[in-house]
Each structure stands twice: as C-alpha cells, then as structure tokens.
C-alpha cells in the first residue's frame, strides 16, 4: 500500500543552507495531502526529496514499507507534474505520454491501450499527434497530468501545477484534478497525492489534509475545517483565511473572568472564548477573523473603540478597516447589516462575537485557546 512517511527529514544544500529542519509527515494511502506555505518555505525542496531529485541530508522517507532514500526517481513508484509542464519538446504528445512505459520495456499493445485510456480520461485524444509547442497552457498541463497518470504510480507529486494558468482555467483544472483523485479511489486504485501550492484556495478546496509549512518547519497538519477553526499557532491563523485574521498584541488579565486589554481599552472575553482558554495572564497575541466581528455604535459594551480609515464595498459584504490604537483591524460585515452612512474618520465600536477568536502565546505563537 502506498502510504508515505517522512521521519525527521532534513535538507542541507551544498552552500550550507539548511532548508528543511527535520520534518515528520504521515500521508495515508489514497490521501490528498497539500503542502502549503509562503514562498521559500521549502515546499518544493520537500517534494523533490520525495521524488528523488534532491538528496536527503538526514532522516528517512518510506513509501509503503520500502525506505526510498537511496532509490533513483524511476524506482520509487512516483510520478511528478511540474509547474511549467516540462513536456519533452521534441516528442509528440503520444510519445510524451508513453516515454516512461517505453523505458520500462512494456509491450507495444499495452502501451497503446494505456495511452488510449489516459487520453480519454483527460480528453486529450485529439492532441496526441501534436508537439508540445502546439498546445495551450491548459492542454499542456493536462498532458503533463496524463504523463503522470499513465504510469499508475503509488504516489503522485504535484509542484504548483496550476500557477501558470489564468484564474478561470485554474478553477476548472482544480476540479478536474480532484475529480480524477476521487475517480481513482472509486475504481479501487486509490492514489496518494502530495500537492504543493502557495495558494490557500487550492489548498483548502483540494486537500483531504493540509500541511502548512514555514521556513523548513511544519506548522500544522490538519483537515481544512480544523485548520480554519483551530489553528495551532499564530502563523497558521494568519496564513489561512481571506482576508487575513486580525492579529494584535494584547494583555490578558484574570480578575474573576478573563479580560483583554488592547490599546488601553479593556473588555471581558466572550463566553465562547473563556470556555476554551488555557492561558496564564500576561502579554498575548489576540486573533479575530474579520468575519467574526460586528460594528457597533461607539461606546457599546464589550467592544473596542476605533476609527474607520477605509471602507471597501464588495457588493454582498463590506470590508471595514478600523484602527484601534496602533493596531489595524479589518471587519467583514454583510451589506445589509452595515450602516452605509458611516464614513472614513467615524468612530465605531468593534465587538468580537467570540466565535473564531483566539489567544496566542506572545513568545511561542502557540494557540492557548484550544482547550476542550
């Protein structure tokens, strides 16, 4: 079975730069795992170590029960789709697809049958006799996926496969790839997928589970809902969600009930938050998603008072930028609940609803509001 395991895997580049700092990751058989993180966080490096295109400086990678550290890429049972397609420019689509099988000396009729099947699934039958330079970006990417699919690998690796496509095509390719994954699962030959992206929409919509990385460390591995509702630390909280979660330095005090002080204003923590809180009083980072704040009149109870410095009207909702002391907040409110007479410079109260409100340890960034 094609389970993929990384055990304290490290990568040190030739120039002495340590890109990956001992990461552990278990990907279950047939799981769609997304690696996501900002640019330079070593997503590609990790993927290329799994593929065998980079040496592994420390630790161990297993596929099924085989340790693959020292196997050549061709022997690992993987297939990879590259960001810029990497089709062989001098070969027709048909040969591009069958190149891997030819190298394995598969019989001709078997190769032909596989080519036919794969091109049917990806709707590239009409393109088989074209050269890569005669394909559009979307078509080329489908051929690239076909070239991976035809090998029926145990593990599929994708490195930002959609980032060269325009937004519309990206959306349709996204669905196509997840559909393909489901289809393989339904046909009883589930494929394990590692999918690298820096686009959180791709990550949230495609992944069974998501692995958020930063500077060569794994920050959290979880399914999309958990990742969104219970971010393990301030980094994940800020990375996932649109617009970004508001993060601000605050002071936690406990006189009877927990209280939060921000820019000299103190409010009692909402009940929802108090129940989850597992923190000692002191300096903390306060996190609230823009969708979980309401705009009140200035002076309302348990609301921070701030000044509107920008209003973005989006149609069905309004992004209200409010400054509280030095901290900039964004609140997203449905248009029908927003008083359209409000203007830049007006003073308003910003009240956290308590849902999706998090307290992070100031020093470590750990989420200390996840107690059951």
């Amino acid at each position: 079975m094609a389970e993929l395991q990384l055990k304290s895997v490290e990568k040190m580049y030739g120039n002495g730069f340590k890109a990956v700092h001992g990461i552990d990751l278990d990907v279950k058989d047939g799981e769609f795992m997304v690696l996501v993180g900002p640019s330079g966080c070593a997503k590609s490096t990790t993927l290329r170590m799994i593929a065998g295109l980079e040496t592994i400086s420390g630790g161990e990678i297993r596929i099924g029960d085989r340790i693959i550290n020292d196997l050549t890429p061709g022997k690992r049972g993987i297939a990879m789709v590259f960001q810029n397609y990497a089709l062989y420019p001098h070969m027709k689509v048909r040969k591009n697809l069958s190149f891997g099988l030819k190298l394995k000396r598969k019989p001709k009729d078997e190769i032909e049958a596989s080519t036919g099947e794969v091109s049917g699934i990806l709707e590239i039958d009409e393109l088989l006799d074209r050269l890569p330079k005669q394909l559009s970006g979307g078509q080329a990417q489908r051929v690239a996926v076909g070239r991976a699919l035809i090998k029926s690998p145990e593990v599929f690796l994708f490195d930002e496969p959609l980032s060269n496509l325009d937004a519309k095509l990206r959306a349709s390719m996204r669905v196509r790839i997840t559909d393909l994954h489901k289809r393989l699962r339904d046909e009883g030959r589930p494929a394990t997928v590692i999918y690298v992206t820096h686009d959180q929409v791709e990550a949230m919509t495609m992944g069974d589970r998501i692995c958020v990385m930063k500077d060569g460390h794994i920050m959290q591995v979880a399914d999309p809902v958990t990742l969104y509702e219970k971010p393990a630390n301030a980094f994940v909280a800020g990375f996932i969600g649109m617009p970004e979660m508001n993060l601000a330095d605050a002071e936690l005090t406990m006189d009877g009930t927990p209280k939060l002080t921000l820019a000299g204003q103190t409010i009692s923590a909402p009940a929802d938050l108090s129940a989850r809180l597992n923190a000692a009083p002191g300096p903390v980072t306060l996190g609230i998603r823009p969708q979980h704040m309401t705009i009140e009149t200035d002076g309302a109870a348990d609301a921070f008072s701030g000044v509107i410095h920008n209003i973005e009207f989006m149609g069905h909702e309004v992004n209200v930028h409010v400054t509280i002391g030095d901290a900039a907040f964004i609140a997203v409110v449905p248009t029908e609940k927003f008083d359209l007479k409000l203007q830049r410079g007006d003073r308003v109260g910003l009240r956290p609803t308590g849902v999706q409100m998090h307290i992070f340890d100031r020093a470590s960034g750990e989420n200390v509001s996840l107690a059951e």
Partner: protein
C-alpha cells in the same frame, strides 16, 4: 474654417518631402553597401572567372571575365602532377573530416553535459582549465603534441588529426555547448529521470534532441575549419597519398617549375564547393544554434 484645408495641404507637402528624402537616403545607403559588398566579394569572383582562363591570360588582364573560356585548367588540375587524381585528395579530406566531426560531436556533448549538469569534486578548477586552453595560442601545443604523436608512432596517419578532437580537445565547442545547455531548463531532464531514465538515456533521448541546433553548428564549424586547416596535415602527414585538399593545392605550387595558376585556381574553386554546399544546406540550424547559445547563455 478656411484655415483647416490650408494646414492639411501644408502637412501633405511636408510628408511628401519627408518621404522623398527617406527614399533618397535609402537608395544611397544601399548603393554604398552594394559597392562595399562587391569589393569584398571581388577576389572570389575573380578567382572563379580566372579558373576558366588560360595560364597566359591570367596575368594579362585584371578583368574577371575570361576572353576565351576553357576548362583546361580543371582537366589538368584534376589529373595533378602526382600519381593520384584530385578525387583522391577529396577522399582524404573527407576521411579526416567525417570521423573528426563525429568524434567532436560525441565527445563535446558528453563533456559539456557533465559540466553543465553535474557537480563533482574540483569542477571549478577543471572547468577553468578547459576554458584556459581556449586562450592558449594553438602553436604552443604543436611541438609537444608532435613529439607525443611521434613517440606513439602515429605520424603520417590520420590519428593525430582525429584523436585530440575525439577527446573533446576543442574547448571552444565544449564552451559553446555548455552555454547552450545552461539556457535549457532542467525540468525536462528531471521529468525523464522521474519517468525512469538513467543518466545516459536522459542524455540520448532528451538532451541531445534539444541540443540538435547547437550540435549542427558544432559540426559545421568543425567541417569548415578542418577543410581549411593547412598546418595540422602539413605537420603530421608526409606521404602524398594521405594529403587532404589543402595540402594538395600547395603541392601543385611546389612541384611544377612554371606555376600553372589556372589549375590551382580551378582546384581552389572545387575545394570551396563542399563547405559552401554544407553551409547552405544547414544554414537555418546553424544561425539558430549560434544565436540561441549566445543570447540566452
């Protein structure tokens, strides 16, 4: 209201004047270029014309047009003053050029691939050494090379002409291929490795096809340079039966007391033919090869 047509008439006249000036200037420019071009190509034209003249006429008139055209120069020149016809010398030239070209293409590809795609100990030093030999004047190595080949016993054979090139001795070609390879992204090769190709298969099935334009330029350069090479064969080949064209042309000057210039010119014209034919056949790839390697590298 009345001013409007007035202005546009003026502008029209102006435009007409500008257009005329542009036409005059381009006529002038092209005439100049054509004249300079003709001056440069004239010796070649003259040679071609003179090859149809009699020996006496060559020195009597500077015009390139033969008064009494004759192919006697070609007939006599082809026979040569040696026991062999010129065909033998053409054959010898090909015997030198073709293995040398193939050897160069293979060896330089291997070396360039190694330098462009792999890391190995002392790579920097070794690469600098290769490039340094580019800067070394050719003559410096002539004598040591000669002594070496004499001790091995390869004198008066084609081996000293083949072997250095077949061992990637032409640093220029290695350099050219490396530059070209650097401009090709590695993704395709990585994809091939993931597809299960080993290093050699990657080279043959993926890299070489992508390198083709550059390889054609390499072969062309090697063809032309070897065709024109005089010193190499002169040093290593001593028996007439091994002479390539470049030496054979000189031969007719050496052995006849009264130089038969018309024969020499006739054979020179023939000697030009292979290079020209090959060049025009491969021109498209040739230009592509040089420019891609140069610009993107």
């Amino acid at each position: 209201m009345t001013a409007m047509p007035q202005i546009s008439a003026d502008t029209l006249a102006n435009m007409e004047k500008q257009r005329r000036r542009a036409r005059i200037s381009s006529t002038f420019r092209y005439s100049l270029l054509i004249i300079v071009g003709l001056i440069m190509v004239y010796p070649l034209v003259w040679m071609f014309g003179a090859s149809f003249k009699t020996n006496a006429e060559i020195f009597s008139s500077p015009s390139f047009w033969p008064k009494e055209p004759t192919v006697q120069g070609y007939i006599d020149g082809w026979k040569t003053s040696t026991p062999y016809t010129f065909a033998k010398f053409f054959m010898n030239s090909m015997m030198i050029i073709i293995p040398k070209m193939i050897g160069t293409a293979i060896s330089c590809t291997l070396v360039a691939y190694g330098f462009a795609r792999f890391d190995f100990p002392f790579k920097k030093i070794i690469f600098s050494t290769v490039i340094a030999t580019l800067l070394l004047p050719n003559v410096v190595t002539r004598i040591p090379q000669y002594l070496l080949f004499r001790d091995i016993g390869w004198l008066d054979s084609f081996l000293p002409l083949w072997v250095p090139s077949a061992l990637a001795g032409d640093a220029f070609f290695v350099f050219m291929l490396i530059q070209f390879l650097r401009a090709i992204p590695r993704d395709m090769e990585e994809a091939a490795r993931v597809d299960g190709a080993n290093t050699l298969q990657t080279l043959i099935y993926i890299v070489v096809p992508m390198l083709t334009p550059a390889l054609i330029s390499v072969c062309l350069f090697q063809f032309m340079w070897t065709m024109n090479d005089f010193l190499g064969p002169l040093i290593y080949l001593s028996s007439v039966e091994n002479y390539p064209i470049s030496l054979a042309l000189k031969l007719s000057i050496d052995t006849t007391e009264a130089f038969a210039w018309n024969q020499i010119l006739a054979m020179s014209c023939l000697a030009l033919a292979p290079s020209l034919i090959v060049f025009f056949m491969a021109q498209k790839y040739f230009i592509e090869g040089i420019s891609t390697g140069g610009v993107k590298g």
